[in-house]
């Protein structure tokens, strides 16, 4: 059974703080993704990674960076948190190639920036 875990379910941070969101998957998946979910906007891709130390910008990368030092771990970094980054953050992973569309999601981290 695929398991994607996220370090926190709920997080409250202050404006300007540096925020780290961690994601770990246990299925040896090549691909990992970070999304944010907002009402009326659906899931929007922030960054993704095809391999260790590889990263690609998604549709809304501004204000975020990522790190993938190990295959199983993908971190999302908010360098200086702002109130408009208050959102639900979802991490996902998948195999490469033909099976890549079937993504497995973690439970999400609800981040509030005050």
């Amino acid at each position: 059974d695929v398991k994607v875990t996220q370090s926190s379910r709920y997080l409250v941070k202050r404006t300007g703080e540096k925020v780290f969101l961690e994601c770990v998957q246990d299925m040896d998946h090549e691909n990992m993704f970070w999304y944010r979910q907002d009402p009326g906007l659906g899931l929007r891709l922030i960054y993704f990674s095809y391999d260790v130390k590889m990263k690609e910008k998604g549709d809304i990368p501004e204000g975020y960076s990522v790190s993938r030092e190990k295959k199983e771990r993908f971190s999302l970094i908010l360098e200086s948190a702002s109130t408009n980054q208050t959102s639900m953050y979802l991490c996902a992973s998948s195999f490469a190639g033909e099976q890549s569309d079937t993504q497995y999601f973690g439970p999400g981290t609800r981040l509030t920036v005050l």
Partner: protein
């Protein structure tokens, strides 16, 4: 620019009846389509998919229909059950280019009335 659209933010259906969720897309390069289901406080889970070479795919109570000329897909759930109450996201990808990103719609909240 929303390339995948779900125009109904919510839908209520009586238990036992058919639920029909709709999704429209604008990018004619999309060649693979998926539906994901999301319960509160959980990540989305894969439900059913369809390749652009087909116009129908069935899995138990769930059937997805694809109309390429209209750039429209729909998810039918028959019969609807209370456990089907969730948010449903449609998603699309461009497999032919090896593009492993998914573009998600905005979601439809389905409520099954007992």
């Amino acid at each position: 620019d929303q390339q995948v659209k779900q125009n109904s933010p919510s839908l209520s259906v009586q238990e036992g009846r058919i639920s029909i969720l709709n999704c429209d897309y604008t990018n004619s390069m999309f060649d693979y389509f998926l539906w994901y289901k999301k319960y509160p406080a959980e990540g989305p889970t894969f439900l059913i998919s369809i390749s652009s070479i087909k116009d129908k795919n069935e899995d138990g109570r769930f059937t997805v229909f694809l109309n390429k000329s209209a750039k429209h897909l729909s998810l039918h759930i028959v019969p609807s059950q209370p456990g089907d109450s969730a948010v449903y996201f449609c998603a699309a990808s461009i497999r032919v280019f090896g593009n492993e990103k998914l573009t998600f719609g905005t979601g439809t909240r389905l409520t099954i009335i007992p």
